[in-house]
């Protein structure tokens, strides 16, 4: 077993354990942190799968930005009493949930196992090994190098990229609209009106 595979196993075990703990944890802040731990292991796995750009995007966007937002919402809006609502009210929810999950996992694994795609023997025969794939004369041509990724992104995938940008803009506006506190804004508006009225009165008095 070489170092990379060992690292993969450590990351995978820590990652799955933290995912399980995220689901089972009673404390929402702990849940958020377990999810962060899971994302950090994914960062490591992406590096091992020679996808450095994906790894840092995961690191900055998911582990850095999105999870801080989650933490903020959980810390700000979830009172400690909220914890007891986290428990499923219907006892059988646990049972059926677990049952359905196990069934789904079985189906996924069976399909993975039976498909020749991930069959190891075929891989080693027909496919180039990783060592071959990684060694390009030019580092920019290696798998996952940001330059190659960028060239591909802005040529062949330009339209999806533009649409994603539009979607982000729409989400930005939507988030502001949904989370805006209309009541306090009304109050501010009212205060502004009062100020104007007072000024008018003051002017009249002076006149």
């Amino acid at each position: 077993m070489d170092g990379q595979l060992l690292a993969w196993w450590v990351l995978a075990i820590v990652g799955s354990l933290s995912a399980v703990m995220m689901v089972l944890s009673r404390n929402p802040v702990h849940s958020v942190l377990y999810l962060v731990a899971n994302f950090l292991t994914l960062v490591g796995i992406y590096f091992l799968l020679s996808a450095p750009m994906m790894a840092v995007v995961q690191f900055v966007v998911y582990a850095g930005a999105i999870m801080i937002l989650f933490l903020f919402v959980v810390m700000f809006f979830m009172s400690p009493e909220a914890r007891r609502w986290l428990r499923p009210e219907i006892k059988s929810q646990w049972v059926f949930g677990t049952l359905l999950t196990v069934m789904m996992l079985t189906v996924v694994y069976i399909s993975l196992f039976t498909s020749g795609r991930v069959n190891q023997g075929e891989l080693e025969m027909g496919r180039p090994t990783i060592a071959m794939a990684g060694a390009a004369e030019n580092p920019r041509e290696e798998l996952g190098h940001p330059a190659g990724l960028g060239v591909r992104m802005f040529s062949y995938h330009a339209l999806p990229f533009e649409i994603a940008g539009l979607l982000l803009l729409a989400a930005l506006l939507g988030a502001v609209l949904v989370a805006r506190d209309e009541r306090s804004e009304g109050r501010q508006h009212l205060a502004h009106e009062f100020e104007k009225a007072e000024e008018a009165v003051a002017e009249e008095v002076q006149a």
Binding site: D2, V23, L42, M54, T101, R127, P128, G144, H157, G174
Partner: protein, 106 residues
């Protein structure tokens, strides 16, 4: 080395299942939302692993990673809107339970 790619796909399946479990047994919208994020990440892991699998000197494609990248962008947008909705819910009600969020029905 090739083990790593194959194992990553298995791991992605496992993570997806854990996310599903969380969605099904939890009743708080924030936690459910986090489980959905986990499922999205499992899909991303599978995409990156398959990209690694299909990358060869003859065919240097990085499309899998680009798909994963776009998924992250969309997930970020989704989180912004979703959390905004949850915050709005918290403002209107003290107790937030996914079973009771059915205003549209009433």
């Amino acid at each position: 080395m090739i083990d790593m790619v194959v194992n990553s796909v298995w791991l992605a399946g496992l993570m997806f299942a854990i996310g599903t479990l969380g969605v099904m047994i939890h009743r708080h919208p924030v936690i459910i939302f986090m489980c959905i994020e986990l499922m999205l990440n499992a899909a991303n892991l599978a995409l990156v692993a398959f990209n690694r699998h299909h990358f060869s000197p003859a065919w240097r494609t990085m499309d899998g990673q680009i798909y994963a990248f776009l998924i992250i962008v969309i997930a970020a947008a989704e989180v912004a809107v979703g959390l905004a909705i949850i915050v709005a819910l918290f403002k209107h009600r003290t107790r937030v339970d996914i079973d009771e969020i059915n205003f549209l029905k009433r």
